[in-house]
Structure formats: C-alpha cells, structure tokens
Symmetry: D4
Subunit: 171 residues, 8 copies
C-alpha cells in the first residue's frame, strides 16, 4: 500500500502521474491533499492512519517552501519519497532545496522536480525488495522502455530526421 500526499490540489496534474504508474503495476494506493502549513493536524492524522493501515511507502509532493515531505518524514519511520513541484517564480529550485536538504536523522528520498513518475517507480522498487513478482514486473518495465527507445531509433533511422520530426514530434 502506498499513500500519495500533495500539499495542494494544484499539484494534482503532476502527482497523478505517480498514481498512473502504481495502477499500471497493480500496486494499491490512495491519494489525498494535505497541507503541512494549512492542515498540520490532518497531515499527522493521515500519517498515523497510514501506519495503522500497513502502508509501506509515502510519496509527498509539494512546492515552494515545500515542507510536506519533511514533516511527514518527521512523523514516521516509513520511507518517504519527496517530489519537488515546479514553481512559477523559482522554477522548483526552492521546492528541491526545501525537500532534499534534510538534516541528519530524518531522510527524504528526493526525486527530480516534477518527477512524480519516478517517485512511484522508486516506491515500487522499495516494495519489490520483499516482493518478487513486483521485482519481475520492474525488470519487464525496464525492458519495455529499452524496446521503445530502440523502436524510436529504428524509426528515426528509416525515416531520416526530417520526416521523423514532421510526423512524430510536431504535435
């Protein structure tokens, strides 16, 4: 079970990518909004409930002074994955530094700015350390990715770059 938290519903278009990956792998998850600043009690309650339910990994996305992942990590010893959301003024550099620069003792596993897809893949890799079926699915996923790159390369080779750009990249 994975819990996906986000600091604001405006983060949903990014964070839904985590949900989509988990669905693709058949990993049960639930997803909700909880602000570290506007609803500290709600965050605490959700983390305690998550532990009680047997949730294994928490993914938390936030932007700006992005405290949600760190606040969650302070409340649990479960692995917490932080997704820095791109911001309009500082492009997510603020979110990234607010999430990754945690003090010794309380880690947050940070992924790229807007990297919700990788947050889900990391959660799956964590679950896969004790779930062989999931571990196998992850390997298959990698192979699919590889094949897609190779298909693109072949297509590019066959068509030449002008036709490729025309047909596959121009919207």
């Amino acid at each position: 079970m994975v819990l996906i938290l986000m600091g604001s519903d405006s983060d949903l278009p990014i964070m839904k990518k985590a949900a989509e990956v988990l669905e693709k792998f058949g990993v049960p998850y639930y997803m909700t909004v909880a602000s570290a600043h506007r609803t500290p009690d709600r965050v605490e309650r959700l983390v305690k409930e998550a532990e009680a339910k047997g949730t294994k990994v928490i993914i938390a996305g936030a932007g700006g002074a992005a405290h949600l992942p760190g606040v969650v990590a302070a409340l649990t010893t479960l692995p917490v994955i932080g997704v820095p959301i791109k911001t309009s003024s500082l492009n997510g550099l603020d979110s990234l530094l607010s999430i990754v620069q945690m003090p010794a003792g309380i880690p947050v596993a940070t992924v790229a700015i807007n990297g919700a897809e990788n947050a889900a893949l990391l959660a799956i890799a964590i679950l896969a350390t004790s779930d062989e079926i999931l571990a196998r699915k992850l390997k298959e996923y990698r192979e699919e990715m590889m094949k897609k790159v190779e298909e693109k390369a072949e297509k590019l080779d066959n068509l030449g770059y002008k036709a490729y750009i025309e047909n596959f990249l121009n919207k």
Copy 2:
C-alpha cells in the same frame, strides 16, 4: 514575551545575537532548542505553551531544509520571524528559500541569512506597535547607530584610510 527557537544547538552562536538584543531592550524572552524534524511533538508543545503564556512573537532559526519557522507558523497565528542559518554546502540559500517561500495563508517574516539581530529588532518593532516605551527605545537605538556611523566617518576623516585600517580593522 518573545520565544526564540532554534533547530539545533549548533545555531546558538548565531541565535544568541537575538537574545542579546532583546536583553539590551529589556524585553523578556526565553530560548530553547526544538527540531521540526527530530522533535515535532516538542515543537507543538512549545508553541502551545508559548500561546498560553502570552508570548507575542516567536523567532525561529533553522538551516538547510529549514522547516522550523514554517512548522511553527502552521501551529499558531502569532507573528513568526524566520532566521535562515548559513549552511556549509549552499551557504544558506537553501535555508532562505525553505523559509521565505511559504504558501499563501501562512506567512513567515523572513530576515537575512544569519540575521538573528534583525529578527530581535523586528520582534521589538512588532511589540512596539502597542508599547510606546519600546517604540521610543527603538528610535533611540536608531539614533545611536547613526551616531556610531558618524563617529566612524569622523575618525576616518581625521586619520586617513591607512591609519584607520591599521588601527580599527586589522584584527
């Protein structure tokens, strides 16, 4: 009454400057260590106690993914002043962005990196909005600062820059 919090005792050499300014102005304060990440319950308890005691302003210093000021601000409607502590790797830019870029709804009054002295002066200016004696003391403090600059300027004028550097800046 002012509460001075800091995320780690290693912040004390900076944060003590806030205490010294408050002492100079005769403003009662108390100062303690509480980490938003290592001791979230302690932070919550301290903030609730502060409100109960009639504390008017909270100063919070922290470095890195500096969540303490924002976490405190989430727990109270008292004015919260954040002091970004200089860090060894990113020089406090991480601390600054983690403190200042708060989302709409929960402000933190941020001062300069390592600016504990100004945090105290800001706390005093806040208290002075309803305390005329303090307001007068603040004006006197400004006048003293002005005089000190003018004394330095006079000394520089009298001595010339070589002697001034030799006598007043070299160590």
Copy 3:
C-alpha cells in the same frame, strides 16, 4: 491602519491581493505608488505622514534592485514588510535578495516572491498582538483554510483524480 506602498503601478495586480485580505479582515489601509529611485522625496513624505496618522505597519512591494522596503525601513521604526515582485529576467531572485539581505540594525520582514497575500496576513498578525478581535478572526481564517483543504480532499476522494482534474483544475 496599514500603508501599502509599491514601487510601480505595474506591481498593482500583485499588491492588490494585500488590499483584498485587509478588506476581508476589516483592517483600514491605504495604498499608493512611490518609487524609492524615481521619487525619494515622496517616499520620505509618505512615511512621515504614515507615522503621523498612526499607521502601525507598512507593506512595501518592489522588483529588481528592490530598494523600496529597505528605504522605508530606514525612515521609520514601524514594522516594514517587504514583498519581492517577480521580475521578467531573474524571476524575482534579484528582488528577494535585494529585500531580505538587509544589514544588522534595519530589519525588513520579507515574504515570498509575489507573496502580497501573506504580507497582509503578517500585518494582521502584528496588529493582532494587541487586538483580540483581530486575533480571533485570524484563527477563524485558519480554520476556514483548513476546511477548504478538507473539502477538496473529500471531493478528490469522491470523484477520483480524473474527474477532479477535469472539473476543478481544467480552467
């Protein structure tokens, strides 16, 4: 009474959010344009008038080499709140550093880039240190915010993320 200053009328679409919050709380304010660089005398006159009128807090927004908040702070011992305005080239990092990195002695309470709403909430928190009605209103405002987050969370839970994004986030 709160004075809202801004360096240019182009800052108005951001700074008006401070006015809207103050109106919502019933806090009297007045708002005008005054450039630290183009109209230094006007800034000085406005600050002196503000003190004479019994203004308690000054909010000042500016962009680029954003000197207005610091210049105002140099002219008064009232609490001054600085709003760094996002700029077209450096996205407001220039504004932020120009406002927050004040020297010891003259603090500016800095909020997030474009954080005019928080500037007003901070001004209210300052006034609330000696105004119980305002203090109560601030607490209610927080509760409202909390409820809004919870309503969104419930809606997201009921609809699922696809319908939520479709209906509430797509323009």
Copy 4:
C-alpha cells in the same frame, strides 16, 4: 545487505558515515570504490554481483558531474540512493543536480549534499518495510534523537546560553 559505492576514495570521509550508521543498526554491508567514468566495467560488474548476492539497496556517492548513482540505477532495478558530494568549486550544487534530475523511468533516491548518514537511514527504512526488528530499531533511534535534543534543551535552560556556548560549542 547494502552496497556502498563511491566514485573516488576522496569521498570516503563522507561515505564512511553511511557505514557507521549501518554498523550501529547491525545491517550487513560492504563498501568499495568504483568510478562511473574511469571504471565503467567495474561498476557494471559490482552491480551484477550485488544483485547475485542478494543485496537489497545500493548507496552511491559522487561529486561534480556525479553520474555514479544514475549509472548504477540504469544497471539494476534495486533501489539506488544517491549522495551528492560537496565539491570545491560549486559546493555540491553540480553533484546534486547531476544526481536528482534523473529522467522518467530511472529514479535515484537523492539525499542532501554530503548526507551519507541519511542515505544509510533511508536504506534501513527500506529494509525495514519487510523487517520488523529493523523497523523497531528505527523507532528507537528516533526516540534517542528526540531525547538528545531534549537533554540539550534542558542543559541550555540550566546553564544559560553563555555557559552552554562556552562549554559545549567552543572547540
């Protein structure tokens, strides 16, 4: 079993902190040097061997154009934790961005610059998702940390900040 890799033996004074934490928790690990750039074959061999041995998590530290964690992540579906090492010119901002900004598909769980201690704690939290004894130890570790903060706070309270700085921070 945890594998700790580092790009250069000059990273050892930082990376050993990961080893120390793992030792403290009684988690078996092995640690070696392997450069993504100077010894790509060695990296590949080590990752394959790690999988064969049943290693569950790989910690990789590197500085500058810090490719080691990403290169390892490309070679395995095990969870990979990246430690950006502080650099002399850009202070580790280069290391951080080179590690955290991974493309969709291949996550690296990134911790703070020089955050080797947290890398180990994160590895332990991952192992603890299927090891209750470890999970309990993690909770105890948190409690110890909490107590240490409270002891420091008490000492600061008893001694006052001057004596505290004198006795516990000077030197």
Copy 5:
C-alpha cells in the same frame, strides 16, 4: 565520420542542427537515439561500433541529469562533445553542470546550452586538424558569417532601426 547521439527523441529538434551543419560541410555522419539510463547496453554497443567503423568524433546531447556524454566518454578515448539540452524546470543549468563538471581523466568538450550547431562546428574543427580541405571550408564559413553581419549592419544603416525591426525582425 561523426556519430550524433541523443538521450531522447525529444532532443531531435535541437540536435538536428548538428546534422545540418555536418551536411553543409559534406562531413559524413549518422545520428541515433540512445539513453544512458534506459539503454546502457545500447550506448555501449553504439560506441564500440563507432570505434570499429572509424568514427572520429562523437557528439552527445542530453538534458537534466545529463549523463550520456560522460558515459560515452567513459567508453571511448575518441573526443566526445556534449550538448546540454535546455530543460523545462532548470532551463538547462542542470544539463550543463551534469556534462561539464567531469572528473579529471575523462574530458567532455562541452558547448552552450542547446548549442548543437557549435558541437558540429567543433567536430569539424577537430577533423580539420588533419584535413586541409575541411580546414579551408571552415575558414570560408567564418568569412560568410562575417559578411552576413556586415550585410545586416549595412541594411540597418540604410534603413534605420525602425524600418529594420519592422521588416527583418517582426516575424
């Protein structure tokens, strides 16, 4: 012979500029997609094949945690030219630092963010160190560039800036 690699087909609109320059100079090249992270084996195979075919220079473009140029450089002693691709969040600063900050021993010749045209010109300059015809063509190319600047200057001089902007810059 020049090999142009890119980490993703989304880099093609930038990287094709390298192809166009090579075509203009009549330098044989081939271009394909290969991700350092998704297809490490493919990268290795391509580099080995390139060496076997007598390729003299490899151009590699990548964005974000842009490891492709460094990974290629680790696999060959041929000169490798890295093109940092502009990214949506950090504008290519992440790509630039991930490519240019290589450790001693394994150089990557880095050009500007999105500088694929210059990557090709640099490849040609390298080939021209042992190919006089190419060296002559490079000199002619420079002269053409010079003439174009002078023609623009003359046109600007004749038309005045208003008409010039109207006719030549307004789309």
Copy 6:
C-alpha cells in the same frame, strides 16, 4: 557623440531603447551591429573610427558569453557601458556575469539585464559632466519621471485599485 554597438541584430528590439533616449535628449549617436566573435576585425575598426570621430561614450549590448563590451573596453580608454541581453536559457544571468565580472584594469559600466534605456541615461550623465545644458535636461527628465509617478498615484487614489487595473493595466 555616442556609439551603440550590439552583438546581433536580434538585440535590436532592446538596444533601440538606448537610441530612443538619446534622440529624446538630442544627443548625436550612431548604431550598428558587430559581433566580438564573428567579426573581431570589424569591432576593432569601429572602435578606432569611433575614437577618431570624437565619440565620447560607447554602449555595447550582448547576450550569452557576452564578450562584446569587454572586447570594446580592451580596445579603448573611452567609457564603455555594457547591456546584458536576456537569453532564452539562462535569462541573462550568463550575459550579466560575462559583462560585469571584468578583471582589474579594464572596467565596463554594467547596467541591468535588458537595461538599454539606462545605458543611454548613463551615457548622457557622463556627457553631462562637461555639458551644462545636458545636465539641466537630465534634471528635467528626473522631474518628469517624478511627476508621472505622482500622476499615477493620484489616479490610483481617485479611481481605486479595481478601476485602475481595469483601465490602465489590462492591456
């Protein structure tokens, strides 16, 4: 006489603002394109001609690795004013640092990113050190600016911010 140089005709929409200010003040000027990198000889010739014609100030705008102002400054002892042009990837931070960080011995008077208007005003201030009519015009220009700010402030005061934004800022 003022010479306005720019590294590329794409800088013209910014640099023309310098021309417009000089025209407004009746200061003779000429403006042309010359790239430090593509046309080093042309730059040298133009600087020598400028000196021969009695040009007093040179304004040079350039973007990216913006060497034009520094290269011009190396060729003349006339005051050289540098205008960093905003770039698409690094927003002009590259241009700014390339222009302002000149070594001891060869100064470039640097203005804001895209600050061509201020470059012209600075050129006029320089000429005005020995031209009283120009000095007077500069003072009048300042007074005009002041009046415009005051007119805006009055309008804002009369209309209220909603009507002001509606009528004067909405496109």
Copy 7:
C-alpha cells in the same frame, strides 16, 4: 573631484583600492562612510554637498541588500558607480543583483564584485571625456599594464613554469 562612499567601514579594505588608483592618477577625491539604511539623512546631505562642491562622479560600495549606490543615484543626476562588496553568505551575488538591476530611469554603473579598482578607472575614464591630460594618462596606464603582462610572459618563458611558480607565486 570624486566622492567615494561606502556603506560600512568594513568595506574600507576593498574601497581603499579606488582611493589608491585616484591618487596614482592625481585625481582629487574624498572618501567617507554613510549607510543608506542607518544614516539616510547623512547620505542625502553628502550627495547634496558633493553636487555643491562640483563633484563629478560618485563611487558607492555596499554589500548584501546593497542599496547605497541606488539611493545615491536617486538623489543626483551625476554618474554613480556601484561596487558590489563580497558578502560572507552569498559571496556578493546579493550585492551585485541589488546594485545592477536598477529600474529604467535611474542607472548605476556597476563594476565587478569587489571591483573598487575598476570603479576608480571608470571614474577617471568619465572625467577624461573632458580632460585630455587624464585621457593621456589612462592610455599610458594601459600601456604599463600591457608591458607588465609581457614582462611576466617573458619571465615565464625564461624560467619555465616550475621556477616561475616557485619564485613568483609561492607566497
């Protein structure tokens, strides 16, 4: 006549380099301390006196939220040269942006971080636009610089780099 201002006497070890250059060229100057924030009236008085005395150029150095050069520029139409002073936390990036990013209408001629020597040379170049003797001296100064470089090159050529480093660079 040149006025050298600095925001704090701690800037003197840098700003004295401007004085030394002016002395070397025989340009009369006076130098004093005046803080834009601590002594706004003093700054205004000094600028007015400077104009009355016939001062032609003002050099102003400041660090952090470095408002002094901009505040001076707002008070006069004389050319103002700003020297960003290196700061302990952000290394002078804050000073640089606070000085260079001035709004349209009020230019500050900005030099490199700690570039006081170049500030003086720029002041001299400005004065030299109407002073042929100074213009000649500037040209001679350049020639001296050139000769020094050539002497060093010759020495390096004669001694080889090992002996050169040993004898001329080691302490």
Copy 8:
C-alpha cells in the same frame, strides 16, 4: 603542437596541470600569459603565430568575465579548449558561463572549472584522431587509471575504511 594560454600568471598553478599531462604524453607544447583585456594585440599576435607554426590545438584558461577562450576562438578556426578558472567571489560560475555560452558559429570546447588536466587530455584526444601512437597512449592511460582505482579498492577492502582513511587520506 599545443599552445597553452592563460589570462593571468595567477592561473599558472591550475594551468600547469595541462602542461604536465602534455609532457607525460610527449606532446610538444608552449605556454604563455596573454590577457584578452589587457593585451588584445598580444593575443592576436600569438594566435597568428600559433597558426603559422602549425599548432593544432589551443588551450585557454581564464577567470571571471573570462573572454580569452572566446576571443581566441574568434581569431582562429583551430579547436579551442576553454578552462574556466575558479574565482574568489562566484567560485568560477562566472568563468564557466562566460566561456561555455558562446554564440552559434564560434565554439569553445569547455571543460570543468579548474579542469586543466582534462583540457590537455582533450587536446591529446583531438591530436589522436590522426595519430595512432597517441591514440594508443590514451588507451593505456585509461587502463592505468582503471588499475589505480582497483588498487585503491583492494587496499580499502584489505585495510577497512578506518585504517584507509588514517593512512591514505589523513594528509
């Protein structure tokens, strides 16, 4: 034949590393000082002489507004390798951007900040495109590097990290 240029003799402790690598490979080189700003004519003369002598590659190191590599690249069609020198205020970020962000048409092959060793290795890789003996030496150099890493790894394995740090890293 390789020419090593540097903007100042203070760059020699870094740039000598390029000389040492070239010596180790038996590649003839000469090294001198020439400032793009202080001695533009000298730079031009040296580049013309280098071409006349049959120099194949030019390495140029510079710091701050580091124009030397770009200025050299503008004067020749030989491959030019730029070494950004670390600076005291901005740590070489200014040097890096001034060198790498060259406009289309005039490439500079940029290496890491202070990366003189890699500049030499890149020069050798360029020469090796038409020199099989050099190509072989490069491969051997790589193998040596690999062996050194493996020796260190073995030593670390044998001694354990405590003894390794004690004996090989503690000065």
